[in-house]
Amino acid sequence: MGSFSRRTLLVAGAGAGLLTACGSNTGREGGGSGPGLSQWYHQYGEAGTERAVQRYAAAFREARVTVQWRPGNYDQQTAAALLTDSGPDVFEVNGPTLDQIQGGQVLDLTELLEGVKDDFSPAVLTPKTYDGRVWGIPQVVDTQLLYYRKSLLGDAGVEPPTTLDALVDAARELTGDKVKGLFLGNDGGAGVLGGTPLYAAGLQLVTDDGKAGFDDPAAARTLGKLHQLYADKSLLLGAPSDWSDPSAFLQGLTAMQWSGLWALPQVRKELGDDFGVLPFPADGGHGRPSVPVGAYGAAVSARSTHQEAAKAYVKWLWVDRTDYQEDFALSYGFHIPARLSLARKATKLRQGPAADVVRFTTDHGYAQPLLWTPASQTAYQDALSRIIRNGASPERELRTVVRKVSAELDRVKNAKKTP
């Protein structure tokens, strides 16, 4: 019998182990009563953001909101979680994507914006709108821009570049033994630039009538110039951190770096006044400066069991509580508030380089259109990478991309919208 009881113990122990493994809960309980909601955020790099969003959640009275802070591949995690019942009720999303909307995975939030719709920056609200309905409430406006080191440009006698040709020349001039001219990310720019050079050439990713917007000789001409940057060896490659982190710029590995507005407080702290900001410079006769903007938006999962409470929470936090929205945008990282009224009020955005960024974001900001699906994005990004790094013919690469993108646009146009 001795062996019997040992076995029983073993089985019982394994069972208990399984039970405890299931009981993990990484969030913090909110302070309200009513139904329990789970809210997901991706991991923000800036200190204090997590505490802040937990504070907001705890202040909501009509539901107990549990915040989950999710490091790692956030987009993949949410996409997978939306297929199951164990996903979030409310989540921030770099979208929602067209397929998520057409697949009925997220709820229509149009009514939450009643009366205040015009106060949201159209650049970020438009990509969250499909068929005239709004599917995500923009949280902040994230802008990308070019940082340059004034002293290094001054020493080399280089003016801040305002055309793409000038940027290519400047990067070459600034490149020396220890410093590279420009950092566009460790992949040479294919990932982060995306459609930005096309907008700089006066083109777009998708036209207003839903066609590929870069079936034009100007596109090939502009993208070819990015290869020149690579061929000149002006680009920093293989840096310890990628473009979204200003470290390479701050450590003096590069004279210019493409990064985000979120990096501005850190850059100012380390470099003082020794830096300036620029939009992506214009190219060609019809060109204009180009400023990519993105927005994480708050969305509600269609699988949520408390849909009304979830919507009420989103309205409370991202529409009504402008004090929290301002705090979220400006107190931790550095973002432009999605609400025009808040952006106008923000004193931090009124002086120095930050004011420049706000100005050129307002004038030249573009967001990736909703019709630009991940499949189109991958096809284009692969082609851009081959153009930049392999010196592939831009005309031939773009012909293939236009064909793939057109097929993808046809697919989403014909996709049946399930309620």
Binding site: R7, A80, D187, P374
Partner: protein
């Protein structure tokens, strides 16, 4: 008593059988089912497309390129690991003292995680900036820093990818070879010496290698299957927040982006997975037939 045995059989085997069915066979069959549907952002699709996903996948340049990447990777990693781990085993086998020490030291990297090793290779050994280890060494000889992982031409990234895997797995295969070596009857070597065979290449060629035949077949088979499953080090060395470059993209990495990225085209991804599984089966069975797996050492 017999009933009792049956009960305990199911208590012990049941959970694993259940887990295997639930987490392996059901998803496998589900995935085969999905591959015949247009399954964007859903695992319960309704729009049947027949073989549409299969034809789309086979016509996709990116997918065929990923198969080529696998072939190139296999062509590098299999012979290199084979020769390197066999050499290690021969050396360790000859050591008379502290053999256990060397065996452990060479085996240790096998205990390291692919993710951790990939990050060390990427951040410190083959960092593209001038203070990375490889670039520092190049600098001593007056060479310019090389962006090891960011330049497709020349394709230096293969050096990084092959060395990291070689470092991680050589120790494991060394142990397999050691086991094989220790099963060779010393009488054979003595007889060879009496017959005048010189130690070294002749003995290796005519005694050691033929005697290691079964081990070699198993090692090559394992190496090829592992190369097929390559994901960890590729993904951690080459991907970034914005995706994955169009080169050195093995099949699993490609399918990961199609099916599990924001693309969420689960039907197309499943079709790719089924095609891949068929390729693995054909290659493995073909290889086993060709190399006559299952014969014991010395059957010649």
């Amino acid at each position: 008593m017999r009933r009792r045995r049956a009960l305990w059989f199911w208590v012990f085997v049941g959970p694993f059988a259940l887990g295997l069915a639930l987490f392996t066979y059901v998803p496998l069959l589900w995935s085969v089912g999905l591959s015949f549907f247009d399954a964007h952002n859903t695992v319960t699709p309704t729009h049947f497309v027949g073989l549409g996903n299969y034809t789309a996948m086979l016509r996709d340049d990116a997918f065929t390129d990923s198969l080529k990447t696998f072939l190139v990777f296999t062509a590098f990693i299999v012979p290199v690991t084979y020769v390197f781990s066999l050499s290690l085993a021969l050396m360790v086998n000859r050591v008379r003292r502290v053999r256990a020490f060397f065996r452990s030291v060479f085996f240790l990297p096998a205990a390291c995680s692919y993710v951790v090793a990939a990050l060390i290779w990427k951040m410190s050994l083959f960092s593209g900036v001038r203070f990375g280890l490889a670039n520092t060494v190049l600098g001593w000889f007056g060479g310019d820093p090389v962006a090891w992982l960011s330049t497709p031409d020349p394709p230096w990234y293969w050096l990084v990818l092959v060395t990291v895997r070689l470092w991680l797995q050589a120790g494991f295969y060394m142990i397999l070879f050691l086991a094989g070596l220790q099963r060779i009857d010393p009488v054979l070597y003595e007889a060879a010496a009496v017959d005048g065979a010189r130690p070294g290449w002749t003995v290796l060629r005519h005694i050691t290698l033929p005697q290691l035949r079964a081990t070699s077949v198993a090692v090559v088979l394992l190496l090829v299957v592992n190369a097929f499953q390559a994901f960890d080090e590729f993904y951690n060395l080459l991907s970034d927040a914005r995706g994955y470059p169009p080169y050195a993209r093995p099949p699993l990495v490609y399918l990961y982006y199609v099916a599990l990225g924001q693309g969420q085209n689960l039907g197309l991804g499943s079709a790719g997975a089924v095609i891949l599984a068929l390729v693995v089966v054909v290659v493995t069975v073909g290889q086993a037939r060709w190399l006559r797996l299952g014969r014991t050492d010395g059957d010649g």
